[in-house]
């Protein structure tokens, strides 16, 4: 299915859901739940917490649908709600662990390894990262968000997001080389 077809399909469902059609919202849920859950799971590292976050995020999305602007991406909007829900569930400050003087010095989010690694090993290495670094890596490196968007979702400065990603890449490389979880 082409991307624009998916968007058009979403728009029609969103319109119906806005009018109170729960069936339409269920279809949106079925379409997006995998990605939202993947995001929550990688951010929380806990299947039960991730499931709670997914449920809360979709309930919040249902209630906020009247405020959703059709021009925006439903997926991004939903992810923003999910990230916010995860952050709410976390207790204690865990943000802005790294300060940065010159955000421009950091590399692009894409990360390619010289030697292919096992998916499971990579997931475990990501899971072992410190929270702030993991958040940046998951949003920018895995879900493809620009630093600006990811920083806005996480409530941190763009420079901090870049620094966290830089840190994540270094730690990840180190852990994969050493084969440490």
């Amino acid at each position: 299915m082409k991307a624009d077809t998916v968007v058009d399909f979403d728009v029609a469902l969103i319109e119906r859901a806005r009018k109170g059609d729960a069936k339409a919202f269920e279809r949106l849920y079925r379409e997006h739940v995998g990605r939202v859950h993947g995001l929550c799971l990688r951010m929380t590292r806990n299947p039960d917490t991730a499931a709670d976050c997914v449920q809360d995020a979709f309930i919040k999305a249902w209630k906020a649908l009247p405020r959703f602007e059709a021009r925006a991406s439903f997926s991004t909007w939903l992810h923003r709600i999910a990230v916010n829900t995860v952050l709410e569930k976390r207790r204690g400050p865990a943000r802005a662990e790294v300060s940065v003087e010159d955000p421009g010095e950091y590399e692009e989010p894409t990360m390619v390894f010289d030697t292919p690694v096992e998916e499971e090993e990579l997931e475990a290495a990501i899971e072992s990262l410190p929270q702030g670094a993991r958040d940046a890596l998951v949003l920018c490196g895995l879900y493809g968000y620009e630093h600006q968007e990811a920083a806005s979702m996480l409530g941190i400065a763009v420079g901090t997001c870049k620094a966290q990603l830089h840190r994540a890449r270094g730690l990840l490389k180190d852990r994969l080389e050493r084969g440490v979880r």
């Binding site: 739940v33 859950h37 991730a50 390619v112 096992e118 090993e121 990501i126």
Partner: protein
């Protein structure tokens, strides 16, 4: 068991379906939301404000019982005797009513300041108890005022506001004057 090998983070699957279907709980919340929206505004208000009244009553009873047991003195506080109901003013009496309201506001503010000073002299346990009760009373007044903001013509809410405000003044005066006889 080995898994697929990947060359970069971008090759990891973005979609990870949850282990169980999360929709039933979401559907339940949506149905509750829809049911709430289906109730007409007026009925929702009727269903909501007794809760405010109940909260106010609970606070009044709590404060009343506590004051009765611990602090109440026989003489009627002057502030209460002087206090007038807060009923809406007629056009002719607007200025008078405004002055009365200002007088009440000043008196209330002063009493709260005096009571605060009094609280600071109380033993911690007693201070906490009285402080909590007064806060509950203040909160009740705020909630009634908020409810009146939604439904200004509601006579019952007006009455509740007057009686709760009078009760607040009575309690404040009692707390302020408590222990004076021993001095």
């Amino acid at each position: 068991m080995t898994t697929r090998r990947v060359k970069g983070i971008g090759e990891l699957p973005r979609d990870i379906p949850p282990a169980r279907d999360l929709w039933p709980a979401i559907a339940e919340a949506i149905q509750a939301d829809l049911a709430m929206k289906a109730v007409p505004d007026s009925r929702r208000r009727v269903g909501w404000w007794p809760a405010v009244g109940l909260a106010a009553s609970v606070a009044l009873v709590a404060v009343g019982v506590f004051i009765g047991q611990n602090l109440l003195q026989p003489d009627e506080p002057q502030a209460l005797a002087r206090m007038q109901p807060l009923a809406p003013a007629s056009d002719a009496g607007t200025v008078k009513a405004s002055l009365r309201q200002a007088q009440y506001d000043n008196q209330r503010k002063q009493l709260w300041a005096e009571v605060q000073a009094k609280l600071n002299t109380m033993p911690p346990a007693e201070r906490e108890k009285v402080g909590k009760s007064l806060a509950a009373l203040k909160q009740s007044i705020q909630e009634i005022q908020d409810a009146l903001g939604h439904d200004p013509a509601n006579a019952l809410l007006q009455e509740l506001l007057v009686s709760t405000s009078q009760e607040e003044m009575r309690v404040l005066t009692t707390v302020r004057d408590s222990g004076r006889q021993e001095l």
